[in-house]
Symmetry: C2
Subunit: 235 residues, 2 copies
Amino acid sequence: MKKTTGEPVYQGIYKELRNQIVKGELKPGSILPSENELAARYETTRMTVRKSLQVLEHSGFIYSWPGKGYYVSEPKHHTFTLEFQEDESAEQSSFREITMIRAGKEIGTLLGIGASARVWKIVRVIYQDGEAIAYDMKYIPYQKGMPTLEKEINYAIFPDIVSNQLPPFAFHTKMEIGLEALSEEAALAMKCSTQEPVMVLYRYFLDDKERCIGYGKKYLRKSYGRLKAQSGYLL
Amino acid sequence: MKKTTGEPVYQGIYKELRNQIVKGELKPGSILPSENELAARYETTRMTVRKSLQVLEHSGFIYSWPGKGYYVSEPKHHTFTLEFQEDESAEQSSFREITMIRAGKEIGTLLGIGASARVWKIVRVIYQDGEAIAYDMKYIPYQKGMPTLEKEINYAIFPDIVSNQLPPFAFHTKMEIGLEALSEEAALAMKCSTQEPVMVLYRYFLDDKERCIGYGKKYLRKSYGRLKAQSGYLL
DNA sequence: AAGTGGTCTAGACCACTGA
DNA sequence: CAGTGGTCTAGACCACTTG
């Protein structure tokens, strides 16, 4: 293929194939031309064609079946991406409180420790325009040799706290979104009526062996707004 | 590098580098050895090393800066993946109703059509163990030449409906998760008390020009359970 | 047996970054 | 300037699928 512009050859091939898929000329399940045929058609080599196909594969448009060929994928319209940043803009407007408590049965079970084990409890109230919109609770098992948590807690973003104990790529998070009534404790701190319905974000920080090393629960009042998620393909 | 097992060379290199990152020996922001140095160290070629690095890059562990080198990324602990399947298991237990209505102001605005335009409204109640757990509403602009929707509606999964009009890769979805009180209409159909708090999933089906071609609203009662999301890295 | 994708080699030229 | 990653070539051998 002639290089008429500064655009890499493989990107041109990628775009042509992608457009055929997006337009529906190549439907899910149908097979693509083979690497050799594409290489011949575009007057280039297999490796360059493979680069195009790998980009298509990563973008979710196609998959390969060794010995057979490349096929157009079924689009994953059920997979969403949700960005959840922890109160980055709310630093000043959030009030915090740190206490050391006994885990208790519920938290102890979640964290895989005894009910009488010591646990840091970190509480924040998130305000917006002078109104309390969320109530955040974090639970972290206490360990000897832990850095003075009170000092570090200024950066009470969850991943950062956990990162003090584990390398940052050594853990992952599971999140659940549910519905509850506001607890008395939270209602009191937010100065609103108890039993008010709220969305709840449950967060589990897990190490590589799926052991829970941190648990968070966050009440979101209606005024917090909606959580947003996206599904789709990069065009 | 000697091939002692059937494992590809690039996978071995990938795993070694990945383990160093996961263990924290290579921290976010630090630079990796250059392609040439890795090629020499593993007694292979640049192209093979590049394959390893590309896998690492796709997995989110590193990024490249042309002219400088490869660097360890900051882990994205704030990006979650949420799978939301539409009631696939509930086929038999869901009741449906299809009507054609005038869009009205709210729906008309969302769909970018006039308030008096015709719109299909598709309603389903989702049951589980004899109890209504969710109430689903979908709105789709009526168009001439549309296939008989009543017939197609047996497959009333949203992406499939939209696919009748557009190729399956030509649209994407935005979703929002919020909190509301149950509408009278929904409470009536589900035989529960009106004003009951529920989670709400708002879904917007958008074409490549961000025009809304379908809108959905789904009430989830507490008994529906929690939505689940994950963030993390493949090890 | 012929065709497919998966892996790998040993070069090449380019644009870019930093000393 | 030397070093880096980005692109590209023209081959090669392998395991797998299909007729």
